[in-house]
Homo-oligomer: 200 residues x 2
Amino acid sequence: MTNDLPLSKEQILDAAEQVLRRFGPDKTSVVDVAKVLGVSHGTLYRHFASKAALREAVTERWLHRSVAIPLEDIAARKDGSAADRLRLWLDTLIAGKRKFAAEDAEMFAMYAEVTLHAVEIIASHVDRLMGQMAVIIEEGIIKGEFKPASSIKTANAIFMATSRFHHPAHVAEWSSEHPNEPFELVWELLLSGIVSSHES
Amino acid sequence: MTNDLPLSKEQILDAAEQVLRRFGPDKTSVVDVAKVLGVSHGTLYRHFASKAALREAVTERWLHRSVAIPLEDIAARKDGSAADRLRLWLDTLIAGKRKFAAEDAEMFAMYAEVTLHAVEIIASHVDRLMGQMAVIIEEGIIKGEFKPASSIKTANAIFMATSRFHHPAHVAEWSSEHPNEPFELVWELLLSGIVSSHES
DNA sequence: CAAGTGACATTATCGTATATTTGTCATTAG
DNA sequence: CTAATGACAAATATACGATAATGTCACTTG
């Protein structure tokens, strides 16, 4: 109607994200999304199996665009020490989540919800992130900056150990505490666990 | 009625816990608790300011009895290495939470709820636990087993870094994953961060 | 007067009739 | 044959009066 080209998933996601932002996840119906696109709601079911699938797809895209891509850039950079880059990577991850929670509370709540139910999507997102960390760690090991170890297992451990600072289940604690102090403690401990002891 | 001695807080907590277990937190009213005690519900308000306060008190007592006390025993023991004792302490904490979540789901849900709202109670419980860990760590430092550092800050960092395995916000993940593998990775990393490098 | 009561106002929950939304599918349009 | 429709049944949500729970307090009781 608005457009005669066949409707794409991306278009639907754009519309869904826009409506979700405007009305909040509780007040958006699939009819609302269809209205924005100028199609009937039945059409959306040719592209997404359910409303939940649509919401998950919106979340997945957000995670990819706003979390994975920016972090990818940091992981791919070759400047500075591995420790600094690892720290920057974590700071960026954590700051990104905090910003999201603070400035886009409704969308964040939806993400937290999806995290509990859409195990697949989250697992693959986390795998991607851990792969990025592993790249940084691997480089640190090659340069002799970090102790030899399985970079992927180390990445896994660091990701787990910093959950409190980036997992959505902990939002409540982020706002009520001094931003960096507890993370600083954990960082120092983790770092001293991975650095090579005969470090120059 | 049932008893002519003045009603004590402990008695009320006993009754409340019993009813909470029987009916679940959603279906228990303060009238139900009063009924078990054979008093009017008004009486309970002479001892607890609100229903929330009563639920918090039940949770607090549970945390003390079932978590803090058993762990205290481990922290106070003087046998074996500090690393082994620290590991045992963490294993006990984690296993305790898992057991609670699995075998007493409704009470656990109440605990998770309280964690979000009753900041004071949880903070003081966590402080107690961190004090216990600090004792173990301090001993490790004195024995030369661990690197010199602030034992309380280290305890803090280890507690934070292991949140994923004992914080109630993560229940969902406990059941769906292989029990010990991820923790093992984190433990190794943390341990290598605290052990003295010139360890015999 | 310390301990407990129970009627009362306030607040939350329940049941249910009503309305919306989700999800399906036979049908239309190109 | 692909894309889209819209009427429809089933599942959910909403509104709202009825019912129950929470929290207060002037009052009894030993």
